[in-house]
Amino acid sequence: MNLSNAVTNLLNSTGIVNLQIGQAIMICVGLVLLFLAIKKDFEPLLLIPIGFGGILANIPVAEMAGPQGFLGQIYNVGINSGVFPLIIFIGVGAMTDFGPLIANPKTSLLGGAAQLGIFGTLMGALALSQYVPGVNFSIKDAASIGIIGGADGPTAIFLSSRLSPHLLGAIAVAAYSYMALVPIIQPPIMRLLTTEKEKRIQMVQLRHVSKREKIFFPLLVLLLCALLLPDAAPLMGALCFGNLLKESGVVERLSKTAANELINITTIFLGLTVGSKLSADKFLRGETLGILLLGLIAFCVGTAGGVLLGKLMNKFSKTPINPLIGAAGVSAVPMSARVVNKVGREYNPDNYLLMHAMGPNVSGVIGSAVAAGVLLALLK
């Protein structure tokens, strides 16, 4: 090695020499995600790590997302194994109060109707595959794309890491981006599908839910899942475990840790490694546009499904049901419940729908996990 040698080697190892155009574009995509997260407050907890992971993965030479790179290694340990999304779900369970759902069980159907977004999008992806040349989604890919409509990040990441790892980056980005767009996507659909009178419906105060019911609830859901759809049991089990830690009231130190440090640490690494799947060859394709478009449709269809079932249920229910709360069935906890509350108050300033919307909201999480279980059972 002499000096000119060394300089040549250094020049040959610079990013300027090695940067491919695809990498450059993907770095810009990462920067856009960071901009949306920081400036536009788009799900920053996830999109900052995802965006940054995308940038790191596209830095030439370093190969951080490769099998020897640190992101690649964490990906194998945490995402390939399915462990990270499940840990997130433990934390989510430890933060979720199922009280509003237990107080008014029938509203959980609204969280079922909103899953129409998942399956509608699945069909959309297949249609796109069939009619648009160059787009070629397998049925597994279509299912992974559909799950964006579930509006549940961990569920989407868990399912697509199982069925379509090559689409994971795009799907996670779409899922979290559209969740962030809930306040923009949902209100027009909600306004369009409901009458003035429906929008003003006030619902009866929720009954008190006892501590004991809250303890039984996660166990009942888990047992139901075990009997009906064990393929959903990892997701549902993690959610119920976290919730039982919280509601049991005797292991506060565990539930606090699950809802804070554990979920935070996992979020950092889940975000970085999911972002590290934003490689140019996987993301810069026509298909990604398709995924983004379909994801948008998924949210719209899900919202419409929830609202329409709300209208129907209001017709037949003894106590009045404001169909707006159906929109919260997509999950995106707690954002879509807040959107419902806001839209409701626009038409009736004394109408606080938030707690009523939390029922469909959390049942939407359960509904998406069930839908993911069905897809796993039939396609894995």
Binding site: L220, L224, G367, V370, A371
Partner: protein
Amino acid sequence: MLFQGLILMVAGMGVVFVFLVIMILMMNLLAVLMKPLARIIPEPEEKKVVKAKKAPIEDHEDIAVAIAAVNSFSK
């Protein structure tokens, strides 16, 4: 393929609703069963809330003596 998607949709939405309907039934049953259960074994609601707030080690009067020595993990 589109047909397969349709099947997935029917099967999927079906299972989702079957699941939720049974869940609703179970919740209703649970609410009904709570009252007799509460009569047999009264729910110590308040005690639990208080307990959750205190550290688990503080529920004996003798603890002030030994606060440095004890820990809340039984090994």
